[in-house]
């Protein structure tokens, strides 16, 4: 989905057929392992939003709505994950998910 090279990003010519919402991204250093309970909390928080959501850990990307996928990352305390959202409630989603991750015990 990268823009073609001869059209500058943000060009105001023809709007694309699919109008993406705003994109948001933040990086969180995990205060605890992303084990079962925080994964469950994160998936439940993610389920409240309509934006497309991604959680990136190393070279893996999962949909944070899936609790099993989150657990399978094996993300450990002190490492970083990136939370990405694209859609109408992207900013709220990134804020909410980052809060859950920061609060993980």
């Amino acid at each position: 989905m990268s823009p073609s090279s001869d059209i500058p990003a943000g060009a105001d010519a023809a709007a694309p057929a699919q109008v993406p919402g705003p994109r948001e991204e933040t990086t969180v250093v995990l205060p605890a392992h992303l084990h079962a309970r925080p994964a469950g909390q994160l998936a439940q928080a993610a389920g409240r939003f309509t934006s497309t959501l991604e959680l990136v850990y190393g070279d893996r990307t999962v949909n944070p709505r899936g609790v099993l996928g989150l657990m399978s990352l094996g993300a450990t305390s002190g490492t970083s994950v990136v939370v990405r959202a694209e859609g109408p409630d992207a900013a709220e989603a990134v804020t909410a998910l980052a809060e859950v991750l920061h609060a993980a015990e």
Binding site: R37, A43, G47, V67, G69
Partner: protein, 130 residues
């Protein structure tokens, strides 16, 4: 938010069903209607038509029910109950017992509809553990 989809755990072992319910409540939510039908009515290893039927009725709060069987006769007993009491809103799902339950409960806790919870439980088969 309307009531959440209910989840029924059918196991040969009451201990297994209770233990999985406790785990699901910790990882997921204790607000999701979650009923168990574990073992026989006299406490032995096995499955019980009456317990499965009672668990489905207990978990049904109007948004549908997903039934997760552990193995073998849990499937057969659940199917017998559903044949006698057919409802489009009560669905038996072929999924790994633990993973399917956790995925279903977490998804139901977000207020997802029956189809979405069924899909989450089924999809658990394809998510690697490691």
């Amino acid at each position: 938010m309307t009531s959440s989809v209910g989840i029924v755990l059918v196991s040969h072992s009451a201990d297994l069903a209770f233990g999985l319910r406790s785990l699901a409540e910790q990882i997921g939510s204790d607000t999701v209607p979650l009923a168990t039908a574990g073992g026989t009515e006299d406490g032995r290893i096995g499955t019980s038509y009456a317990l499965v039927l009672a668990a489905i009725r207990q978990a049904d709060q109007g948004a549908g029910v997903v039934v997760l069987p552990d193995l073998g006769s849990s499937v057969l007993t659940t199917r017998a109950v559903l044949e006698d009491h057919p409802s489009p809103d009560v669905r038996i799902v072929d999924a790994p017992f633990v993973e399917g339950t956790i995925a279903a409960v977490v998804t139901a806790a977000t207020g997802a509809d029956l189809e979405t919870v069924v899909h989450a439980a089924k999809e658990s088969r394809n998510v690697p553990k490691l």
